[in-house]
């Protein structure tokens, strides 16, 4: 980690200082619903980044005068723990954190059906436990999962990723060293289904060709991350759905047949909100959860999740 001598950021063969190729992402891992008090929560492990996101709301807004008459206010607070960086950061929020908080909130807003909750607030809290470059992109990726976990209706998840300029080469997903020593940093966040860019910043230098190349590469990278993100949330709610269903089935019944029977009707219901026909797994899950209609609120949220993030539809469609 010591860079007394200048680190070779990228070799002639396009190998970066940590052995990655130009478009290789660092390892990304998510966990959803990990905090008990929060309405929704997630942690992202992205390279050495460790970032927690928690969502509270929709809830009453204080101070009241900030309330919006026609939609919910989306408020975001991005903070870094004092020990998240090499030199201890002072605990008071810096201008950087305030700015990032603002752009993250603005990036989340387009994804959320905020008109459903007028005069209320949806709070998104982000705590960077360890930072390693690209923390704002990792933050928004985690925040989207926390929102989904909170059962907030959304038209899509949000995915962030950064590109950089290392001695003229465009690379994806800068780590700390590359961020500090490279020539440019270009973070974006997108709604992957529609391809809308909801966050775009850059510092350092890129020429127009590099900038465009970076955008194209980023779009691909975001799709890869999107897949992981959706897996994280569908995995969690698939488990919960199973748990809810099991106690309901007092006597073992031939679920196979039941699922087949229900499949047709459920598919049509689903079409209203989603574009493609769900495959077996998705509809089976839904049909199952339909059975335990009266089980509490939790189930409601899990159903919502399935609507928003159709479980593994794309992957299965491909197979």
């Amino acid at each position: 980690m010591t860079n007394k001598e200048k680190t070779v950021l990228i070799t002639k063969n396009g190998i970066r200082h940590d052995g990655r190729k130009k478009t290789d992402l660092r390892e990304i891992r998510f966990e959803v619903g990990i905090l008990d008090r929060a309405d929704g929560s997630a942690i992202i492990y992205w390279g050495k980044n460790k970032i927690l996101a928690a969502v509270y709301g929709p809830r009453e807004l204080h101070p009241k005068h900030m309330a919006l008459p026609d939609r919910a206010l989306i408020r975001c607070e991005y903070r870094m723990a004092t020990f998240s960086v090499t030199e201890r950061k002072s605990p008071a929020p810096k201008r950087r954190e305030k700015e990032i908080s603002k752009i993250l909130a603005e990036a989340i807003e387009p994804a959320v059906f905020d008109y459903l909750y007028p005069r209320s607030v949806i709070d998104v809290f982000i705590e960077v436990l360890q930072a390693d470059g690209g923390s704002r992109c990792a933050s928004i990726t985690a925040a989207a999962l926390a929102l989904a976990d909170a059962g907030i209706p959304m038209k899509d998840l949000v995915v962030g990723c950064a590109a950089g300029n290392l001695n003229g080469e465009v690379v994806i997903d800068l780590d700390d060293v590359e961020d500090k020593e490279g020539q440019g940093d270009l973070p974006i966040a997108v709604l992957p289904l529609s391809g809308e860019v909801v966050l775009l910043q850059s510092d350092g230098v890129f020429n127009p060709e590099q900038y465009k190349e970076a955008l194209d590469l980023l779009m691909d990278a975001c799709q890869t991350i999107y897949k992981l993100q959706r897996e994280a949330i569908t995995n969690k709610y698939a488990k919960i759905t199973e748990e809810i269903i099991e106690p309901v089935e007092v006597e073992p019944e031939p679920t196979e047949a039941k699922v087949e029977k229900k499949k047709g009707e459920k598919t049509e219901e689903k079409k209203e909100t989603e574009e493609k026909t769900p495959k077996k797994k998705a509809s089976a899950k839904k049909a199952k959860s339909e059975q335990s209609e009266e089980s509490e609120k939790k189930k409601k949220t899990s159903k919502k999740k399935e609507k928003k993030t159709p479980p593994k539809k794309d992957e299965e469609a491909k197979e």
Partner: protein, 283 residues
């Protein structure tokens, strides 16, 4: 805590009526502690760190170090300070902004236990006596609040310190004859002379329970935190809340805490688990 979560009358009655029958809402005995897990080195960028879980309560502590000058009144000693932040991520009851009195109380009680037990060896902290010492910041963030933040913060601070490594230093004398410090690449664990462990009690009516849940705290009249060293000495005490304890109650708490802290200390090796899972298990 002054930040009380809302609790309904029904629930309040429920907790109370269980207590009358000697029971608690999570089925524990009055003197029974929740499961503790401590995961060290969660943030490798910090000099030392740990996540501590007591039941569903989760806190993270990180230690950062810098070289500075000692306080004038203690020139031969390094500096160890703790801060606690009740970040709004952890609970709907917490608000952002500078630490308020409850966070400051938490920090100061944690600080006191570490300092008064003489936990960190001065040999590890003093570089040039009277001139250069290590200043350790123990920053603690509450991540999920289900009660008993006092014990959680203290244990997180302790576990982080147990896993803190500081760079080795060489004293060099420059041409003017002034001593200076060269920080080397190699790192060395700091030495802990004492291991303080604290136990917190809540008093609800006439009942006293150890390791209160958030719900129990929110209807409690008073709170008592006792820290013990491995020599079974009390190194910090803090009473909180608007209620009171009788002398007999305090003595009883001391007896229980003496036992429980011993138990926790003896299990510390299994409590501290680098492979432990820091978050809520699947429900």
């Amino acid at each position: 805590m002054s930040d009380k979560g809302l609790i309904s009358m029904v629930e309040r009655e429920h907790i109370n009526s269980l207590l009358i029958h000697g029971k608690r809402i999570d089925g524990r005995n009055f003197d029974e502690y929740r499961t503790i897990t401590a995961i060290p080195n969660f943030v490798p960028k910090a000099e030392g760190s740990a996540i501590v879980k007591i039941g569903r309560t989760k806190v993270i502590a990180g230690v950062k170090a810098s070289i500075g000058e000692p306080f004038e009144d203690t020139p031969e000693e390094g500096v160890v300070t703790a801060t606690v932040e009740l970040i709004p991520l952890a609970s709907p009851d917490f608000e952002s902004g500078p630490p308020r009195e409850d966070a400051i109380e938490l920090a100061r009680v944690t600080d006191r236990a570490i300092r008064e037990s003489k936990c960190v060896s001065q040999d590890s902290l003093v570089i040039i006596p009277g001139k250069k010492v290590w200043i350790l910041f123990i920053d603690i963030y509450v991540l999920d609040n289900d009660g008993n933040l006092f014990d959680a913060c203290e244990l997180a601070a302790l576990t982080a310190l147990m896993h803190t490594q500081l760079p080795e230093c060489k004293i060099i004398t420059n041409e003017d004859g002034i001593e200076d410090v060269e920080v080397l690449e190699t790192k060395k664990p700091i030495q802990l002379d004492h291991i303080p462990i604290s136990n917190t009690f809540a008093k609800i009516g006439t009942n006293i329970i150890i390791d209160p849940l958030l719900k129990e705290e929110s209807i409690a009249d008073a709170r008592l935190t006792l820290s013990f060293t491995e020599e079974n000495k009390i190194c910090a005490t803090q009473k909180g809340g608007s209620g009171s304890f009788t002398i007999d109650e305090i003595k009883k708490c001391i007896d229980i805490a003496s036992e429980r802290t011993k138990e926790i200390r003896s299990k510390l090796n299994s409590i501290i688990n680098p492979e432990g899972y820091p978050w809520s298990e699947e429900r």
